[in-house]
């Protein structure tokens, strides 16, 4: 049990560390930038931005450190950037194993297809945990370092609630990965789909007659900025994400089980 998950994690360890360092450096830059600019300037920026963009980037309250981080880090990096990364990364897994003839050997193992798929997926836990723990810690430390304060519980909550969201993104990638034969196609489809889903929610969803459409996007169920500002969140949202995640995993299992390799 879990040999494949361990092997996959050891393979992606280096890349994950590099990504974590990269994101941490970006956080450092954003926090440092916040310390330079006078708070009242932000309020003016926020007001001059069209409502759709304000919604998309969560920049309602960028005058406070919570609002600033919510927009620049948790919306821009976590919701959009990492959402796309998890979908992309999962999309390449099965498809590239099939494309590069690795799946032949993997399926000669005395392991069921369903277990193999789950273990491959489970290796996504490594970036999920490492990014959340390290970047969360780095963010907290840096905020204190520039003389600001942020409620650590709100920060933890913003990270914890991102986990169901990122799992859904990875599950979307996994469905594409078992559906498509070529890794490049699955990966590009994952990037495109995640980007479209985010636009659907933030841009089209803001238009009243199409407001229903925002509910199909996973980005609708993770709103980090309010969590950071006053700790408000909907338990139901996290529940919907987890249900969506399980549903997508089941779909990918059925597709993988039935297909010829």
């Amino acid at each position: 049990m879990l040999e494949t998950a361990r092997y996959e994690m050891s393979r992606r360890f280096r890349g994950t560390v590099i990504l974590t360092i990269g994101v941490s450096l970006y956080v450092a830059f954003i926090v440092w930038y916040f310390s330079l600019v006078d708070a009242s300037a932000y309020a003016q920026i926020a007001e001059s931005v069209p409502p759709a963009m304000r919604e998309a980037f969560g920049i309602q309250t960028i005058g406070t450190i919570e609002g600033w981080l919510g927009g620049q880090i948790y919306t821009f990096v976590w919701l959009v950037g990492l959402g796309i990364y998890f979908a992309y990364s999962a999309a390449g897994k099965i498809a590239s194993d099939i494309e590069n003839d690795r799946m032949d050997l993997l399926l000669s193992f005395p392991v069921s297809r369903s277990q193999l798929l789950l273990e491959k997926f489970a290796s996504m836990v490594l970036p999920l945990v490492l990014l959340n723990v390290v970047v969360g810690g780095v963010t907290y430390g840096l905020v204190l370092a520039i003389g600001e304060t942020i409620d650590p519980m709100h920060l933890v909550l913003a990270h914890v609630l991102s986990i169901p969201y990122l799992l859904v993104c990875a599950a979307i990638g996994t469905v594409l990965s078992v559906l498509v034969n070529r890794a490049a196609v699955a990966e590009r489809a994952a990037i495109g789909l995640m980007f479209v889903l985010w636009l659907v929610e933030s841009a089209i969803g803001a238009a009243e007659e199409f407001s229903w459409i925002q509910y199909i996007s996973p980005t609708h169920y993770y709103s980090p900025t309010p969590v950071l500002i006053d700790g408000t969140y909907e338990v139901l949202d996290a529940g919907i994400l987890l249900a969506g995640f399980l549903g997508l995993i089941i779909v990918s299992q059925v597709l993988f089980q039935r297909r010829d390799i």
Partner: protein, 305 residues
């Protein structure tokens, strides 16, 4: 019960009928060669046996496990080794890491012993491997958990002749230890050296299932001699002579008839030089395939006669 049993196995890809009602049994403890040119459908059969492909109709069992039954097949796979034709390994990991992974999943009691025979550069990443090194790594992973049955798709492709010979010897030893080996090949001389029996596949259909000795006997002998013009004409007309090629002062043909008849006939002519040998297996193979080469030589026989 055979180690592998195929019963009417059919795989239809829609545009290609890759396996058409293929039935045969591989007995426990034998080396079975699965022969056919590229594209005949050998790999399709192998991948169906491993549960990678779902047969369109018919069925097969490996070590008693039905290929339709995933749980039974998983149990059987603990006792099966597999060497695919195209070896896919993650490019950035080292050979040792690949073997560690395989060992952790299916065991590796014989890993060190195998590394004494096959010598891939374990400390290097796979991306630096030559095709021969990849093949050796593939052979090691296929045998290291000491399986009862090893299924190999073109096992020696990419190996240099020396390593090929070592592999052949290794395969024979494994067979003596009671293992069943099933391997596909389009290289006939290789099959001849190590197989007990062969199944011959053509366009998805099984066209021959023979002991290797029967196959060779049916192939007859290749006779090459230098003689007179008159003798050449008479020899070419003899029963059991085929594939006649004439040249300046000699003749070459495949003889499948009675040896005494040939010797008596030769005794009546002035034979200046003679060489009787086994025909290349490619020619034997033609017997089953009825390829262009054989067809033309029959034409030649008729026109000469």
């Amino acid at each position: 019960m055979g180690a592998i049993e195929l019963d009417g196995l059919t795989k239809d890809y829609g545009d290609v009928l890759a396996n058409d009602d293929v039935s045969f049994t591989v007995e426990t403890g034998e080396i079975f060669g699965y022969l056919g040119p590229n594209g005949a459908g050998k790999t399709t059969t192998i991948r169906t046996l491993l549960g990678l492909l779902e047969p369109t109709s018919g069925t097969a069992t490996v070590l008693g496990a039905d290929v339709h039954d995933e749980d039974a097949l998983i149990d059987a796979k603990q006792r099966i080794g597999y060497l695919p034709a195209n070896l896919g390994f993650n490019e950035e990991v080292t050979g040792a890491e690949v073997l560690d992974y395989h060992e952790s999943v299916k065991g590796g009691d014989r890993r060190d012993e195998l590394l004494g025979i096959f010598t891939p550069p374990l400390e290097r990443p796979i991306r630096e491997y030559s095709s021969g090194n990849k093949r050796m790594l593939g052979i090691i992973q296929a045998f290291m958990h000491d399986p009862e049955l090893v299924i190999m798709d073109e096992p020696t492709s990419g190996l240099d002749p020396l390593k090929q010979e070592e592999f052949n010897e290794f395969a024979r030893n494994e067979c003596e230890r009671g293992k069943t080996l099933f391997f596909s090949s389009h290289v006939l001389s290789e099959v001849r050296r190590i197989c007990d029996r062969v199944g011959i596949l053509r366009n998805g259909k099984l066209v021959g299932l023979e002991d290797i000795e029967t196959l060779m006997d049916q192939g007859g002998k290749r006779v090459r001699l230098r003689t007179t013009d008159e003798a050449r004409t008479e020899l070419a007309a003899l029963d059991g002579v085929s594939d006649v090629q004439t040249f300046a002062d000699g003749i070459q043909f495949i003889y499948t008839g009675e040896y005494n008849t040939l010797l008596r006939e030769l005794g009546t002519h002035d034979v200046r030089e003679i060489d009787i040998s086994e025909p290349p297996l490619e020619d034997v193979f033609m017997h089953y395939y009825g390829g262009d080469g054989a067809g033309e030589s029959h034409q030649e026989v008729q026109s000469d006669a």
